[in-house]
């Protein structure tokens, strides 16, 4: 048996051995076996689109997180950590944890009790058909674009790391996802997401452990980063007092208001890609616990994503550069930091496991997009606009075909995405187009009984259009950055944060103004949808350690302690 190891030649970063290939082939085989096994358990629309609403809190919570652990999480954020330092951790901590806890404690009861199949479905119940149509079409558009980004990212990894053809990688991975999701629906996607979550940790956890051993611990790592880059790279908050004092060119207000309060809350509470996993929980308490369990693990993810990026600054012998520079010079880009570290530390078997972790991340993200797309398409576009009298079997059939169609559209968008230089910044722009205004609409819908159907629609539309308008304004006139992002020095990410904030404000203001100009819904139609009109079941006599609020407090305390420690 030949164990050929990492060879840094011009065409690939690593060479896989036989045992590495066996690990990867076994993974592909297992996900297909799970899909085939679950085929007979996806006979009704409730089974296919909501996994029969039978998932435990742990399974729903891990799937909730895993659907988000796509290619962007593993490759993109490791690269972002190399580029921006520990500031990238904000997207995992303040940019996720408060929103996930809010979803579990405050918003989940309304989603769950209303028995909606999707977030656009909630908008239909609360604001009417127009809002649902607008939301479902924009969501479907965003989802296939996201899926295309996932595919492109994975194909890029396979090309750079293994020298595989970008076309073969796209088709192999996407068809595998299409098969197991089309067979078993959301249940298959969730099962595989939990498996993928475990494999991601099994394959990626060794890198930070061995990296810290090589660097000589966290203290020595900070010293080396200060020497190779800057001491600012290891501070989470203390450099955010000015736009110029940190590698990202962002002010703390952008992080706290733009990221934490708008983009994060918008994504984690209204993006159906993640919310769908929680809707599959078996009861309300499980649905509330699932995001809290997810948040606990989310706090740990920087260990396998951000820390490798920081380790790259300290231990890698070469300097990484932006994607476009890497293409022009033949160097290594920021996004390659994780594969480079894999090649540095992992021998046969471990290398295969690490590559499997990357593939698993890509596939879980892709499956998340595809299942969410097929559900929204079937219920909120096909069932609402095309065939209002669709039978249950027609919906299941449409769901299966939509899965394949969604994958094919995603493949098309993957080729389009190749034209964009910075993957992460592009995604953040998409979020600010659709997610930030949607959060404003859903939040007002759940918490403010006076919000009217007309106001919901016009608020959502104006928020989305204003966001696209600001993005186009800066593209046409770069000087507009000083107005949109409050500083001409702001980087793309900072611009996205502020654009999200403004578009959310536009949505909220328009919704409030139009609400006072139009007639509200009768209170009898708000039951189960709005705070004050919904009977939320109490936890009863369950022990304190089974109550969602108890675990939310634990997570919140650890979250605060981590932020102070890395201040």
């Amino acid at each position: 048996m030949s164990f050929a190891l990492f060879l840094f030649d011009s065409s690939r970063l690593v060479h896989l051995s036989l045992v590495d290939f066996l690990v990867i082939i076994f993974y592909f085989g297992l996900v297909l076996v799970i899909g085939a096994y679950l085929k007979n358990r996806a006979n009704t629309s409730e089974d296919f689109f909501l996994a029969g609403r039978e998932m435990t809190a742990w399974i729903a919570g891990l799937a909730f997180l895993s659907a988000n652990l796509g290619s962007l999480e593993l490759m993109g954020w490791a690269g972002a950590a190399y580029q921006y330092g520990i500031l990238a951790t904000h997207w995992y901590w303040i940019g996720a944890i408060p929103a996930m806890l809010f979803l579990g404690l405050v918003m989940m009861p309304f989603y769950y009790i209303s028995k909606t199949h999707s977030v656009p479905g909630y908008l239909k119940l609360r604001f009417g058909e127009d809002s649902r149509t607008l939301s479902s079409i924009s969501f479907a558009f965003m989802t296939v674009l996201m899926s295309g980004i996932n595919m492109y990212s994975m194909a890029l990894v396979m090309k750079v790391v293994l020298g595989w053809s970008i076309h073969k990688s796209i088709w192999l991975s996407s068809l595998t996802v299409a098969v197991y999701v089309a067979l078993g629906g959301l249940r298959s996607a969730i099962f595989n997401e939990v498996l993928q979550f475990i494999l991601i940790w099994a394959g990626a956890l060794l890198i930070p452990i061995l990296g810290l051993v090589e660097a000589g611990g966290w203290s020595n790592l900070k010293v080396q980063i200060a020497h190779n880059a800057s001491a600012e790279y290891t501070h989470l908050w203390s450099t955010l007092g000015t736009f110029n004092g940190n590698p990202m060119g962002i002010h703390w207000t952008g992080i706290v208001i733009g990221l934490a309060c708008i983009i994060s809350f918008g994504y984690w509470t209204t993006d159906f890609l993640v919310v769908q996993r929680v809707l599959a929980a078996k009861d309300l308490r499980s649905a509330q616990l699932a995001p809290i369990i997810g948040s606990a693990f989310k706090m740990l993810v920087p260990f396998i994503v951000i820390l490798p990026g920081l380790l790259g600054l300290a231990v890698l012998p070469m300097k990484l550069v932006p994607e476009n520079v890497a293409v022009a010079t033949g160097g290594h880009s920021y996004n390659e930091v994780l594969p480079l570290l894999l090649a540095r530390y992992c021998g046969p078997g471990l290398l295969g496991l690490g590559i499997t972790a990357l593939i698993a991340g890509f596939m879980s993200g892709m499956a998340g997009n595809v299942t969410a797309f097929s559900t929204v398409w079937t219920y909120d576009i096909y069932g609402a606009l095309i065939n209002k009298n669709a039978t249950d079997q027609q919906k299941v059939s449409m769901g299966r075909w939509c899965t394949i169609l969604g994958v094919l559209i995603s493949i098309g968008t993957a080729y389009l995405v190749m034209r964009f230089g910075s993957i992460m910044d592009y995604v953040q722009a998409l979020f600010s187009f659709f997610i930030a205004p949607l959060f404003g609409t859903v939040l007002l819908g759940m918490l403010w009984k006076r919000a009217t159907p007309r106001a919901g629609f016009w608020g959502l539309l104006s928020g989305t259009l204003s966001s696209i308008g600001m993005w186009a304004w800066v593209k046409v006139d770069p000087g507009a950055l000083a107005y949109v992002a409050l500083s001409k020095n702001a980087k793309d990410m900072a611009e996205n944060m502020y654009r999200a904030l403004w578009s959310w404000l536009v949505c909220v203001i328009v919704t409030v103004v139009v609400s006072y100009m139009t007639k509200p819904k009768p209170e009898s139609e708000l039951v189960g949808l709005v705070y004050g009109f919904t009977d939320i079941p109490k936890d009863g006599n369950v022990p304190i350690y089974q109550k969602p609020a108890f675990w939310a407090v634990i997570v919140a305390v650890i979250f605060a302690a981590l932020n102070i420690y890395f201040w």
Binding site: M1, F3, L5, F6, L7, S17, V19, L22, V23, F26, Y27, L30, I34, Y37, N40, R41, N43, T44, E46, D47, G52, E54, I59, F191, V194, L195, I198, L199, A202, L206, L210, V213, E214, A343, R344, Y345, C346, G347, P348, G349, L350, G352, L353, T356
Partner: protein
């Protein structure tokens, strides 16, 4: 929804860890006796051996605990 009892996801995860752990452990032991010409950084720690062993043991625990016959008995 079929009335047939479902195999737990944790069983599949156990199988996955057993197989992957065995492969990684086996490769690590092979390298112990036949060291590569270009070893990885920190090769002396033999990460493949202890990491593979951890995955294998965890996998055995999960596979046995969530064996379909065992979970079906517990449910009935």
């Amino acid at each position: 929804m079929s009335s047939q009892r479902e195999i737990s996801i944790w069983f599949f995860i156990g199988i996955s860890l057993v197989v992957n752990g065995a492969l990684v452990l086996g490769a690590g032991i092979y390298e112990l006796f036949y060291p590569p010409a270009n070893p990885v950084v920190l090769f002396r720690l033999h990460a493949g051996i202890w990491w593979g062993a951890i995955l294998f043991i965890l996998g055995v625990v999960y596979t046995v605990k969530f064996l379909p016959s065992r979970t079906a008995r517990a449910a009935s």
